[in-house]
């Protein structure tokens, strides 16, 4: 026992070093599970508060462009309104409201911190449990998909960005409904990759990519990007499609968090059918 203690004491610096590195790797390991909640995230009260304070100051700089995007979006929504359509025939029809049950509701939120230059990017939003945000909700902006809520605290939530090595989002090509998976390879924050589209499908540069609606987080038809280039891997029957994002991830200020009202029902159904 004594020699062991002497040995430990002699090299205590080295052992302290090993111990601290062990803790560091423990944190890395804990954090690397996708969407597992972690204490050490920017959603906690202290760092969220500081980020909120700092974005309160820097917000003024971007006001012009934010106003413009909001105005554009308003104009677009206005054009979809019932009042902006003219009745072209006079056949009688009944609007039966019970036909439609609302499935998605949206919360607006402000981005208070955001990165796009790391290999795994996250955003922090200024809405949290108090406002009804829950884990695994989808996040979009007026120009397309942003990411998925990873962690929630009382007043803030942190979002795994689309620009994350482990993000996988089901998407499809708008013109022919062929479904694939969106991943990010970590090189360019303006470009993502669409995999798993079979090689016999006809595609061309410029085709629009939208969300497929197969996940519970995003409704069908949310914009993602347009095809920028594509190739077929040797020996494989699938395309590797490069998709240019509509969103400028370097410049996001206001986003919407999607609440799927039927998520629990869907979850339960899927669980039941998997158990059989």
């Amino acid at each position: 026992m004594r020699p062991l203690l002497q040995f430990l004491f002699k090299y205590y610096n080295f052992f302290l070093f090993l111990l601290l590195e062990f803790f560091a790797f423990l944190i890395i390991y804990q954090n690397s599970y996708y969407q597992q909640s972690s204490i050490l995230s920017a959603a906690n009260a202290i760092s969220g508060g500081i980020y909120g304070f700092s974005s309160g100051i820097t917000d003024y700089i971007g006001l012009t462009s934010i106003n413009k995007t909001l105005a554009d979006e308003n104009a677009h929504l206005l054009s979809l309104q019932k009042s902006s359509f003219i009745k072209t025939n006079n056949k009688v029809f009944v609007v039966n409201d019970t036909l439609y049950q609302q499935q998605y509701t949206y919360f607006s939120a402000k981005v208070i911190s955001n990165t796009s230059n790391r290999a795994n990017n996250y955003l922090t939003l200024n809405k949290g449990l108090k406002h009804g945000i829950k884990k695994n909700m989808g996040v979009i902006s007026s120009q397309g998909i942003i990411g998925i809520v990873k962690d929630v605290s009382d007043n803030f939530c942190s979002v795994t960005s689309l620009l994350h090595s482990k993000t996988k989002i089901s998407a499809k090509i708008k013109k022919n409904d062929n479904v694939g998976t969106i991943i990010w390879k970590g090189d360019d924050y303006r470009v993502v990759t669409l995999k798993d589209v079979p090689a016999h499908v006809k595609i061309s540069v410029g085709d629009t990519i939208i969300s497929s609606g197969y996940s519970m987080m995003f409704p069908e038809g949310i914009l993602i990007g347009s095809i920028y280039s594509y190739e077929i891997n040797k020996g494989k029957d699938f395309y590797e499609i490069r998709v240019k994002l509509f969103n400028d991830f370097n410049n996001i200020s206001y986003v919407y968090v999607i609440n799927n009202l039927m998520k629990d029902e869907l979850n339960e159904l899927e669980k039941r059918s998997q158990n059989e």
Partner: protein, 171 residues
Amino acid sequence: MNNLIIRNIIRFIGLVLLQVLVFNNIEVFSFITPFIYILFILLLPFNTPRWIILISGFLLGLCIDIFSNSGGIHTAATVLIAYLSPWAQNVVSTKSDNEAGTQPGIQNSGFKWFFLYALILTTAHHVCLFYLEIFRFTDFFETLKHALYNVVFTMVFIIISQYLFFNRKSE
């Protein structure tokens, strides 16, 4: 002595805030972000007990990780250079004229000494950080290239800060 401790605590808080509020928003070529917070480890006085360097390195990395949502990668990299820093001081200095209690810097130790010392530790930190972030060796040289570009930018800011804040003959 007390003065020295207070000054280092203020520097710790200042550098963390500067890093997360200002430097984390800097993006050159979409992958370069200067990590100036390691300046805290570089500027700890000579002959600081090693366990103090290690613990403060751990806390420093942890603070940065909490703010940047990066798991423990900054912690791991900063503890590494905290362990290496006394070794780097010995490797670089040919003569042991660095008295205990003074802090490393261009004024005290000369440009060449400080530059080499900072370069060794910054490179160690960045290489460790970038490989931990990617966590695979498939893009080995690409990652190394990114890390080394980043070293250049961090070094520029470290040297500038030396001339900005420590240009008086230190008291």
